[in-house]
Amino acid sequence: MWEYTEKVKDHFLNPRNAGQIEDADGVGEVGSLACGDALTLYIKVEEGVITDAKFKTFGCASAIASSSALTELLIGKPVEEAEKLTNKDIAEYLGGLPREKMHCSVMGQEALEQAIKNMRGEAGTKAEHSHEGELICECFGIFDEEILRAIKENDLDTVEDVTNFTKAGGGCGKCIDDLERLLREAKGEGSCPTPSEAPAFPAQGMTNIQRMHLIESVMDQDIRPILQADGGNIQLVDIEKTLVTVKFMGMCSSCPSSKATLENLVEAKLKEKVDPSIRVVLEG
């Protein structure tokens, strides 16, 4: 039996704000039946402030309590503040969660992000995962980026904790080696205290020209081949400091998911391989 705090039990037995908002401004759906827990979060926003939040959750006691806590945290908060909420805030609000149940709070954070993106018209209600991220845990469909983020935000040290927070590795266990690698990777770059020895990002300290060359080579080596595989292509139109303007060609120009490709592939790659402050926009 899990050791739940009184607050978790209370929010499980008397969930606050359960239900749905018919005319919600933002909806975020995360998780799935296969994974054993799923949360749909509805938010109502007026003049930049979340005036109402409701949830529907399939899952264990801590999943229901985390959802309930999340809505309580959200109501009355400006969106800008709400955006800064993390899974830790949800867990803290509940007086802590058993380590094995931390993934329930992570689910809350993910639903919130999705609902805010949805509200801004940037995304649908469900998270579209970039095909370019590396699928680490096949059992639960967890990608490397989610794992790396959980490691960094919660300062995780062990594979067991990665499983507790993200579920990755909790099924067949085949990806344990990958989780160890990601832990090493995250520790290597995330908490590096000596910026003078290793640059925080590849383009740090580069001249404008050098950075433009780097962007071009990342486009050629990391982005274009992927688009070409699907019959598309991309053209570099302009680079102005960290603002990169591009144009999609071929199949990409008519592809309905080109917006997602722009964000999840083009921008993500450039952020990763050149400079995290890069923004990519379409021409026109």
């Binding site: 759906e29 039946l33 059992c139």
Partner: protein
């Protein structure tokens, strides 16, 4: 609040008569049964009686009973013994729905010791295919280990037939009968079973005692090496209180066998029928034709098992679930997965397992409470019969 205990496949209440029987062996009768003095010897006499009582329950000779510490030890001893007796044979036959005591051991043997294991699959009701079983035997098969009854669904497997098939193939046959002993009649003298595991705490004895039946003249290699206890087949000073308790519990089980297969079954049937009739989207998992009389495994669609259990706990009702959140791993029960139960239902599975200590009033209380409880959780759920989410919402590579 009264406790309504319907989790008897997890463990059982110690029968008050069993407790009475063992009390003196905690206090004045503390002798070592192996001692030469009468003080220890009288404990030895009691252990002999216990051995006879266990043998009577399963229909074998007392010399064929080895006392162990638990079902898992019995299972490990049986498999290891067969493998050591036939070191040239490197193949094991078992099922995909065994208890972890067998399953994890087989996976370990596969990974670390180079054995090959055939895990027989099941159909959607958890039934095995006898033809597939027959076809699994090969010249290098050392042992076939098939559970008598499944702990989660209560399914009973055709042990008589399966043991005979193993004998026809000259292969040792072991059965993990931890869930079956005391719940259904059995007679080893009429079967081709070579080894059988049983556990005390599943039949109203305390935890920490089990037994392994080993057919006479079967090649046997002990797991624990040391003193000459149990005919040098299991070293270690006897757990006298546990053994005496197991003996008494087996005696009571024999006396109550009729109760188990009539009254307990009637309660189970009432519970099962009531729950599936009053609650929509409730499905029985298992083989309705061949099941333990005390067990029902019901999936309540679109809600999660741990949440159901904790709600039940608020009312004092104890049961188990095959959901991911209640298992150590994050995946639902391997038994339900092997049966191909959809995730929608696997996560919401609840096992009720009764005993002769349950009453009709308790069943009625559960029947009154459950519909509302499930309805409340379903109100929270984003899924329903009309809106079922795809199994995986995330997109995968390739």
């Amino acid at each position: 609040m009264n406790t309504i205990y319907m989790d008897n496949n997890a463990t059982t209440q110690v029968d008050p008569a069993v407790f009475e029987e063992i009390k003196p062996y905690f206090t004045e009768l503390y002798g070592n049964p192996s001692s030469m003095h009468r003080f220890g010897g009288q404990v030895g006499v009691k252990i002999k009686e216990a051995r006879q009582r266990v043998a009577d329950l399963i229909g074998c000779d007392p010399a064929e009973i080895i006392f162990t510490s638990c079902g898992s030890e019995s299972d490990n001893t049986a498999i290891r013994s067969a493998l050591k007796a036939f070191p040239e044979k490197k193949h094991i036959i078992t099922t995909a729905v065994e208890h972890p005591a067998i399953l994890s051991l087989c996976k370990y043997l596969e990974k670390k010791e180079g054995y090959e294991v055939t895990y027989l699959p099941t159909d959607e009701h958890g039934r095995l295919d006898i033809e597939e079983y027959k076809a699994a035997f090969r010249p290098g098969t050392a042992i076939a280990s098939i559970m008598w009854a499944n702990n989660e669904t209560g399914n009973i497997y055709p042990i008589e037939e399966m043991a005979q098939i193993a004998r026809d193939n000259n292969v040792i046959f072991h059965t993990d009968a931890v869930q079956a002993v005391g719940k259904v009649p059995m007679n080893m003298s009429e079967l081709s079973v070579d080894m059988l595991s049983l556990s005390g705490h599943k039949l109203h004895a305390p935890k920490g005692v089990g037994a392994l039946y080993v057919r006479k003249r079967l090649p046997f290699r002990p797991l624990l090496i040391g003193g000459h206890q149990e005919g040098s087949r299991r070293a270690g000073t006897e757990n006298t209180t546990g053994i005496v308790a197991l003996g008494k519990a087996c005696d009571l089980a024999r006396e109550n066998m009729d109760v188990e297969i009539t009254e307990v079954k009637a309660l189970r049937d009432k519970l099962e029928a009531g729950l599936t009739q009053t609650i929509p989207d409730a499905k029985i998992n298992g083989d309705p034709e061949n099941r333990l009389p005390n067990t029902t495994n019901i999936s309540f669609g679109y809600v999660e098992g741990e949440a159901i259990l904790l709600m039940m706990d608020q009312l004092g009702i104890c049961a188990s679930s095959g959901s991911a959140c209640t298992s150590g791993s994050l995946e639902p029960s391997h038994v339900l997965m092997a049966m191909g139960i959809p995730f929608t239902f696997a996560h919401g599975s609840i096992r009720f397992s009764l005993s002769r200590f349950n009453t009709e009033q308790e069943v009625d209380f559960v029947l009154e409470s459950m519909p509302k409880l499930i309805e409340n959780l379903r109100k929270l759920s984003p899924f329903s019969a009309d809106k079922e989410a795809p199994a995986i919402t995330k997109s995968f590579k390739g």
